[in-house]
Amino acid sequence: MTYLDWAATAPPDPEVLDEQRRTALSFPGNPSSRHEAGAAARAALEAARTRLARALRLSAKGVHFVSGGSEADAIPLLALLRKKNPGSIVVSSIEHAAVYEQARVLERLGWKLREVPPDPDGRVSPDKVAEAVAPDTALVACMAVNNETGATQPVREIAAAVRLTAKGRIPRFHVDAVQALGKIELGGDGFGADSLAFSAHKIGGPRGTGVLWLRSPVEPLQSGGGQEGGIRPGTENLPGDAAFALAAEKAVAGLQAAREGAEALEDALLEGLKAIPDATPLPLSRVPRDSRWSPWIVSFALPGLAGETAVRALSDSGFAVSTGSACSSASRERRVLDSMGVDRELSFSALRASFGPESTRAELDAFLEAVASIYRRFKA
């Protein structure tokens, strides 16, 4: 199976798995216990935190280990429910379900929800976000890299625009950076966001591990034993957290070289699609080696062939890709593409190929060949 679905999850890195196992065996204590085994585990946990913070170029104080990207997204949103009176929240309409659906829950609980659609290229305009911000806006959310189209979002500019135009209290700015980690440069400023969500399994780390970075603490909805500064109660997943630290270090260290590889694949895929009649990249304006898109994710359409059908046929030919977000591929709705104004005929035939550091040109060439032949055979 040629794996081109790295945005859904990355195959585990054996070295990272080893680190997880080693940590589990070496530090059996509960980091909250007062005995020696507990103290050793606590020290290992703090070491993992420091290593992760260094890899992310963020303060260690802000690093909170959580169960994954979805929980990292949920905590700052649900924290709003601690407020006395509901205000408003502003989210882009291309957010991952972890943000988008959580925002809809808040809406049902009395919060006003304003959605900001992207431009046709799949990028959210900072001005439009700033326009949507009202005096009662408590939180703004925009992801760093869209998981379906690969569109990089001008999050730094959004942060600045929101700060500039906000009247009264400046709303918190949350950035889901799950598809950014190890894929694009994070910069040393956390995109100017107040909170960032990261996930380990997208970069070869274990599932069930993520990080919520907070510039300043929030008052979480969930309460319990006070772990992770009270932000995420529950016995810490030390082996997973240590493994995440190693995976993040490796991803960040290898970023430059891997990115060049990804750009070559992006280039080849977009070029190859031109040779397949009617195939088209999504958005239509997509070009390679352009900072508006992450080179790791390429979305394209095969008009007249349902995305779902193409995924099955490609799977039978030995290629793993998806129709869009793996989390929402069961539903008929194509929210992200719809909000970009993509024609229904194209959005229903959309496919997403996503690369990892181990993807090769040979794999991509074989993939293009399979796409062309399947499209020829099954196209309406």
């Binding site: 349902a306 059908t309 099955r312 069961a330 539903s331 008929r332 099954f378």
Partner: protein, 388 residues
């Protein structure tokens, strides 16, 4: 043997000459379905008895409630033919009802053994008086009682309260065998169920257009067949690989005829399968006017590809009533799972509403499906699905 079920056999007794055959089929089916529960079946005129160990009670009741040909059944007490024994049994039968909050009752008696000293009316009257004395706060209501204590004086005396309905209808197989076109939607399982109640044993055919239709769509159809099997007994599911005919239709047929021609191809293959398995009819979930392919003209066109009669029990049924029936037989939740069958995927935007038999048949011949249908028929896979 701890539990005794009294089983009422419905229409069977009405069907003079065929009665023996019907009874044999029902007994065989019952035996087959109760296999493994070490149940004992005793047949009689209009009343059968099934005895089983109390730990099998629920399973046996589920079978009695679901197989065609049973009118109703009840957990009964068998006792001696003296009034005192009847009174004790009646009290035991009533006790469970009273414990559940019942406040009013009546007694109905049938006396096949005319040597019993009291007549039916006398039994009801005397037993009623005893029950009134036995339970404080219980009253008689002959019009709308909370429960009815029934007494039947036969070879022995039988007493029961709380009869459960059966599926009624005719025993499976007594009308021969039908081949059900099972799509994965709401209608076709209901159709299969209804025809099974008319005595057909059922095999099913599904047209699988992979990769247009998913593995999950096929699994859904298999699960629907499994649900049907609760009522019908074992079902053979024939899965026809239909991708190639589908593609040929897409390429060669006028767009507005795609669905119609697809169905013509399906009927052609279904008819051949039906003949090969000795079925005497096809069964579909079609309902007049429900979708474009189900106008009278289009039904005429598609059924012209079958030699066997096409039975459509839902032809005059409103969708809401079909849904209610689907919910009752337990197929609805599976039917609405979002895996599309090929009917949905290939439906044209503006389908032809009223086929002209001669004109459309000519156009159909030109699509050149013949050898592709032969191959699909040859490569059909079979799976036997048994009730749980």
């Amino acid at each position: 043997m701890d539990t005794l079920f009294l089983v009422k056999i419905g229409e069977l007794v009405l069907k003079g000459g065929n009665r023996k055959d019907f009874e044999r089929r029902l007994r065989d089916e019952l035996k087959h379905r109760l296999h493994g529960h070490s149940a004992r079946i005793q047949t009689g005129v209009g009343r059968w008895f099934v005895e089983c160990a109390s730990e099998s009670e629920e399973a046996v009741a589920a079978v009695l409630a679901s197989i065609p040909g049973i009118y109703g059944f009840a957990r009964a007490i068998r006792t001696g033919k003296t009034f005192e024994e009847l009174a004790i049994a009646a009290r035991d039968a009533a006790r469970a009802r009273v414990a559940l909050g019942a406040r009013s009752f009546k007694v109905e008696a049938r006396r096949s053994d005319k040597s019993f000293p009291l007549d039916s009316y006398g039994i009801a009257r005397e037993l009623g008086a005893r029950l009134l004395a036995d339970f404080d706060g219980l009253s008689v209501d002959v019009h709308e009682p909370d429960f009815t204590v029934r007494v039947e004086i036969r070879d022995k005396a039988y007493v029961y309260a709380g009869e459960e309905p059966g599926q009624k209808g005719l025993p499976v197989g007594s009308s021969g065998k039908g081949l059900l076109l099972l799509s994965g939607g709401i209608d076709s399982p209901v159709s299969g169920y209804l025809m099974a109640l008319r005595g057909l044993s059922i095999e099913a055919v599904y047209f699988h257009a992979y990769p247009y239709t998913s593995r999950e769509a096929w699994e859904k159809v298999r699960d629907l067949a499994k649900i049907l099997a609760r009522y019908v007994g074992r079902i053979t599911l024939h899965t026809v690989p239909f991708t190639e005919p589908q593609l040929a239709i897409k390429k060669n047929a006028p767009e507005n005829c795609a669905t119609l021609f697809m169905r013509a191809g399906m009927f052609t293959i279904a008819d051949r399968i039906a003949s090969s398995i000795g079925a005497n009819c096809l069964i579909t979930g079609e309902s007049l006017g429900q979708v474009a392919s189900q106008t009278a003209e289009n039904l005429r066109f598609t059924e012209s590809f079958a030699k066997l009669p096409v039975l459509r029990p839902l032809i005059g049924t409103d969708k809401e009533d079909t849904i209610a029936l689907a919910r009752r037989i337990g197929s609805y939740e599976t039917s609405i799972l979002p895996y599309e069958d090929c009917c949905v995927i290939f439906s044209p935007a503006h389908p032809l509403l009223r086929a002209d038999l001669a004109r459309e048949t000519e156009a159909y011949e030109k699509t050149g499906l013949g050898s592709l249908l032969d191959e699909a028929f040859r490569n059909t896979e079979r799976l036997v699905i048994k009730p749980d």
